[in-house]
Amino acid sequence: MTLSFYVHIPYCIKRCGYCDFNTYTPSELQDGATLEIVSNDYIDAVLKELETTPTDEVPTIFFGGGTPSLLPAHDLGRVISTIKARNGLAPDCEITLEANPDSITAEKLAQYLEVGFNRISFGMQSAKPHVLAVLDRTHNPANVEKSVSLARAAGFKSISVDLIYGTPGESLADWQETVQAALALDIDHISAYALIIETGTKLAAQIKRGDLAMPDDDLMADMYLLVDQLCEANGMTWYEISNWSKPGHECSHNIAYMRHINWWGLGPGAHSHIDGKRFWNVKHPTAYKNKVFAGESPIAESENLTAEQKIDESILLGIRRRQGLLIELLLPHQLELLASYRENGFVELVAGRVVLTPTGRLIADQIVREITI
C-alpha cells in the first residue's frame, strides 16, 4: 500500500465571501502572534501528528488550505523532508502547492522548488474584476499571468489554475473570457468548480437579503459545457468531472480521492481514509494544536465503512472519472436503470465501462441516486 498526504494550512490573509473552508485569518485566531510564529508553531503540530501515521511510501503530497503560499517555504519544507525521511517518496512523487497569485515572487517560487514542490495550483477563479469583487477575492487578474510565467520560468513541471463559475452577476460571455484567459496561460491543468452558496458565508447572507441573485442552474449548465468544450479544443481533456489536463498532467492526488486507496490529512479538520475507515480531525486550529501538543489524538470522529457504503462510494466517486465505472461493479437492475440515460445521451458504454457524456456529467448526482437508491 502507498500513503498520500494532504497537509491543511488553515490560514488566509482575509476570508473570501464565498468560502466556508476551515481557514482563519491570523486575527481570527486572536493569539496576537505574527504569521511567522503561528506558522512555525503550526508546522510543529503537523509534524507531531505525522508521527502517528503509517510509514508507507508516498506517491503524492498536497498542501491546501487556506493559503499554503502564505507560509514560508522552509516551514512547508519541514513537512516534506520529514515525510521523505520516515516514509520515503515515490520516484515521481507529485507535491502540490496551492498558491494565491498575489503572494508569489520569483524568489519564493525558487524556494518552493528547492524544498521539493513540483506542482503549483493558482487560485485564479475569474478573469473579470466584477466577478472577483463579488467573490471578495483580493487578487489582481494580471497577477495570475505573471505568477504562471514566473512558476514556469522557475521550473515547475505542472501548473494548474482553479476557476469558479456561476458567480452572481457573471454572464456566459464573462465566463467565456475567463476560460479563454486561462487557456491562454502556459498551464497544464484546469479545475473549474461551480460556485456553491454555503450557508453561513457572507455571500449566502447577501443572497438571502436579496442584494445578489442566486446563480441559475441552467446558466451554470451552459458554463460547464462551455469550459468542457474550450478545454477539449485546446488539448486539455477531462479526467474528473471538474478537472481537465494535458496528457500526463492529471493531478494524481486528486485521483487518489476517487479511489479506495490510503490517504492521510494532516491538520485541523483534515479528513483521512485508511483501509476502509474514514476519520477527521477537530476543526479549530487552536483545539487541534492543544490536542496534538498534549499528546492526544486530534481525531474528532471516525467511521468504518460497511460493505454497502463502500459500494456506494465506489459508484459515486468512480462515475466522476473519465475511466468511468466498470460494468461488473453494477448489478443487472442498475444497468437497466441506466438504459434511459443511455438513450438520452447522458452515459456511454466504453470498453466495458459506464462513462458520462458532458451532459451526463452535469447530472452525475441524479444518475448515482437512480442506480444506488
Binding site: 473549474a192 471538474s242 490529512g265 483534515a270 479528513h271 452535469l362 441524479q366
Partner: protein, 626 residues
C-alpha cells in the same frame, strides 16, 4: 341568596311542571355565553366556588380552547325567585353556536319554552345569532334580550339595545344588562326567566314522548342521551323505544345534570335530563328522534326529526402512510360521538390511502380534523372541500358525486349543485366589498336591510361550493373581521359546472381534480399548474403539467428537464458528506410518489393542497422531529 340546596329543591320525577322553566342561551362565539353559564352555576350554588373552573360545561379541550360549544348540555338549576319567593327548577340547555350545527340547535330550541338572546354590547348581534334567533322565534319561544359585558369600557348598551329591540319587536329598555364576568344582573336575569318564560305543558298520563336533543358518547358509560320529556314519564329499568327505528333498549339509568350527572327515579312532564341504555354508538340514539316506552308506545312522534346530511366532503390522508390504520380507528371512535360524520376509504395516487369524509360544514370539518390530529397524534392533509353534485347524463341517468373523481366522463346534460341562502351582517362601510365578493362567487342579491344606523343585513343566494372554498376567510379579511356569516340550505340549482383535471405528463393526478364553474375553470387550471410547476422538482425529462376539461387542454405549464445536478467539488473531506447525503436521499426516495414516470415528493402534493395554516403546522412538525 335565593339559591336552594339540591337536597331541599324539588326532586326529579316529582317536580310540578308549573315550577319548571326550560331555556337556552342564543349567543355568538365570544359573546360570553359560557361565562354567563358559569355565573349561573355559581349563583344557584350547584357548583361551589372551590370547584368552579372557566367554561365549566364545555367538556372537550378543543371547545374550551376555541371558545365554542360543540355539544349542548342541560343543567338543572334550583332557584327561588326574588320576585314571588317560590321555588323553581330552571333547566339551562346549552346550544351549539355555529351554522354547521343548525339542526342540533333547532332540536335544542324545541326542548325549550324560552331563549335568552345574549349579545355582547361591544359588538352587537352577529349573523349566526340572528339565524338562531329567527329559529327560536319560529319555534314560538319567549325571547329575553340580554346585553352582556356591560363592564367593558367600550360597551355601547344603548346602541345595541335599540338594535335588539328592532329585531325582536320590544322596547330598548326591555333589554336586560348583565356582566357574566362580574355577575352583575345575573340574579335578575334568572328571576326574569321565571317570570317571562312559560312553564312546560304536557299530559302526564299520555304515552311517553321525549325529544332527544343531544347524544354524547362517553367511553365509560356508552351513549348518554339528553332528553326533554313532553308527555308521560321515563323511569329507570323501563324498556324504551326509539320511534324512528323501533329499536328497544332498557333505560339503565335516568337522571339529571346538576352539573354532574345524578341518577334518579325518572323524569316527568317538562323535565330535562339524560338516560343511559348501554348503546355504544350515537347513531342508535339520534338527535331529533322521539323516545317512547315499549309497553305503551306513542303513535305520534314529536315533529322535526331529520337524519343529519353531510354537506361538505373532503379527502383526509395521513402524511405518513403507515398511520392509515390509526386514522381508521380514530374515525371509528369519533363516529361513536358524531352521528353526522360519514366516511369511506379512498385511495389516491398522489396521497396514498385515506378516507373520503362527509361533514355538516366547514367548521365541522375543521373540528373533526383537529380532533383527529390532537387526540390521535395524526398529521393529516385534506383535499380541497367540495359539495355534493347531482349529475344528469344524456341517457337520463343520475349520478351523485361527492368526489371529483366520480364525475362522469360521458355526455352530461345538467349538473345540479346545492344552493344556500346566506345572511351577512356587517358594518355598512363594507357593503361594497361584500357585494363584490358575493357577485364574484356567483351570488344573487336577495335583499338588504339596516339593522341599526351603521350595520346592515345582506342576504344573498350562493352556491354552497363557493362558500366552502375560502369564502369565509375572504369575507373576514375584506371586512377586517367585522362581518359575520350564516347560511341555510335552499335546495339544488343547475350550475354551469365542469370538472377540471390536472395532468402530469398526460396522467391525471386525482387529488387535484376539481368541479368548478365554467368561467373559473381557466383560473383554477392556471393556478394549479403554476403551483405544481414550482413544487415538483425537475426531472430527467421535460414534464408537461396541463389542466384539462375532458380532452380539452385549458392551461399548460412545463417543468423543464433538469440540466445540472452534480456537486462539482469533491475533495477528500467531501466524500463522507456526499455519501451521507445519498443515504438521506435513499430515505427520501421512500416518500416519492410515481405518477407515470414522474417522481414527485409527497411534500410537493401536500404543499399544493395545503392552506397557509397547514404549512405552518407541517413546518412545526418538522422542527419538532429534528
Amino acid at each position: 341568596m335565593p339559591a336552594i340546596s339540591l337536597a331541599k329543591a324539588p326532586q326529579p320525577a316529582s317536580t310540578n311542571p308549573a315550577q319548571i322553566r326550560n331555556f337556552c342561551i342564543i349567543a355568538h362565539i365570544d359573546h360570553g355565553k359560557s361565562t354567563l353559564a358559569d355565573r349561573m352555576l355559581g349563583i344557584t350554588e350547584v357548583v361551589d366556588a372551590r370547584n368552579m373552573r372557566a367554561q365549566y360545561l364545555d367538556r372537550m379541550d378543543i371547545e374550551r380552547e376555541r371558545g365554542i360549544t360543540i355539544k349542548s348540555q342541560a343543567v338543572r338549576l334550583p332557584w327561588r325567585s326574588g320576585i314571588d319567593g317560590q321555588e323553581y327548577i330552571l333547566n339551562m340547555i346549552d346550544t351549539p353556536g355555529h351554522v354547521d350545527f343548525t339542526y342540533e340547535v333547532s332540536r335544542s330550541l324545541a326542548a325549550c319554552e324560552g331563549a335568552v338572546l345574549l349579545v355582547d354590547c361591544a359588538q352587537g348581534i352577529e349573523a349566526q345569532t340572528l339565524a338562531n334567533l329567527y329559529l327560536a322565534m319560529e319555534n314560538n319561544l319567549t325571547i329575553i334580550p340580554v346585553l352582556n359585558k356591560i363592564d367593558l369600557p367600550n360597551a355601547q348598551p344603548e346602541k345595541f339595545a335599540a338594535e335588539l329591540a328592532r329585531l325582536i319587536g320590544c322596547q330598548p329598555e326591555d333589554c336586560l344588562r348583565v356582566s357574566g364576568k362580574t355577575g352583575d344582573g345575573v340574579a335578575e336575569l334568572l328571576d326574569q326567566i321565571v317570570t317571562q318564560i312559560p312553564a312546560p305543558v304536557g299530559d302526564p298520563n299520555a304515552p311517553a314522548r321525549a325529544l332527544i336533543f343531544d347524544s354524547v358518547y362517553d367511553s365509560y358509560r356508552g351513549v348518554i342521551t339528553y332528553v326533554r320529556v313532553v308527555d308521560g314519564h321515563l323511569s329507570p329499568r323501563e324498556q324504551i323505544q326509539m320511534f324512528s327505528t323501533g329499536v328497544r333498549h332498557e333505560a339503565l339509568e335516568v337522571g339529571v345534570i346538576s352539573p354532574e350527572p345524578v341518577a334518579g327515579k325518572g323524569l316527568g312532564v317538562g323535565e330535562v335530563g339524560y338516560l343511559i341504555t348501554g348503546v355504544k354508538d350515537v347513531r342508535q340514539s339520534r338527535v331529533g328522534d322521539t323516545i317512547t316506552t315499549y309497553n305503551n308506545p306513542t303513535k305520534s312522534p314529536l315533529s322535526g326529526y331529520k337524519d343529519p346530511k353531510p354537506m361538505v366532503f373532503s379527502g383526509l390522508f395521513p402524511l405518513d402512510g403507515a398511520d392509515f390504520p390509526i386514522l381508521r380507528d380514530a374515525l371509528d371512535k369519533l363516529q361513536l360521538n358524531d352521528a353526522a360524520l360519514v366516511y369511506e376509504p379512498e385511495s389516491s395516487a398522489a396521497l396514498g390511502f385515506g378516507f373520503r369524509c362527509g361533514f355538516l360544514g366547514l367548521l365541522h370539518m375543521e373540528i373533526v380534523r383537529e380532533r383527529l390530529e390532537r387526540e390521535h397524534k395524526l398529521n393529516l392533509i385534506s383535499t380541497a372541500p367540495n359539495v355534493v353534485y347531482n349529475v344528469v347524463m344524456e341517457d337520463g341517468k343520475e349520478i351523485r358525486v361527492t368526489n371529483p373523481s366520480e364525475f362522469p366522463d360521458g355526455k352530461v346534460t345538467t349538473v345540479m349543485e346545492p344552493i344556500v341562502k346566506s345572511t351577512i351582517l356587517a358594518p355598512s362601510e363594507y357593503i361594497g366589498t361584500i357585494m363584490e365578493l358575493c357577485q364574484d362567487r356567483r351570488g344573487i342579491l336577495l335583499g338588504m336591510d339596516y339593522i341599526s344606523e351603521d350595520r346592515v343585513e345582506i342576504r344573498y343566494e350562493l352556491p354552497l361550493a363557493e362558500i366552502v372554498f375560502d369564502f369565509f376567510d375572504q369575507l373576514k379579511s375584506r371586512t377586517k373581521g367585522y362581518a359575520s356569516l350564516d347560511y341555510e340550505e335552499k335546495g339544488d340549482a343547475e350550475g354551469l359546472l365542469v370538472k377540471v383535471d390536472i395532468l402530469l405528463q398526460g396522467e391525471a393526478v386525482d387529488a387535484f381534480s376539481a368541479i368548478v364553474h365554467r368561467d373559473k375553470a381557466y383560473s383554477y387550471g392556471v393556478m394549479m399548474t403554476g403551483k405544481l410547476r414550482e413544487l415538483i422538482p425537475r426531472q430527467q425529462f421535460e414534464v408537461p403539467i396541463q389542466a384539462a376539461i375532458g380532452t380539452r387542454i385549458i392551461a399548460r405549464e412545463s417543468i423543464r428537464a433538469v440540466r445540472k445536478d452534480v456537486l462539482a467539488k469533491c475533495y477528500g473531506g467531501d466524500i463522507t458528506r456526499k455519501r451521507k447525503l445519498l443515504e438521506k436521499q435513499k430515505e427520501g426516495k421512500k416518500r416519492m410518489k410515481m405518477v407515470g414516470r414522474v417522481e414527485v415528493p409527497q411534500e410537493a402534493f401536500v404543499a399544493a393542497l395545503a392552506t397557509d395554516a397547514d404549512i405552518e403546522k407541517i413546518k412545526a412538525a418538522r422542527r419538532a422531529s429534528q
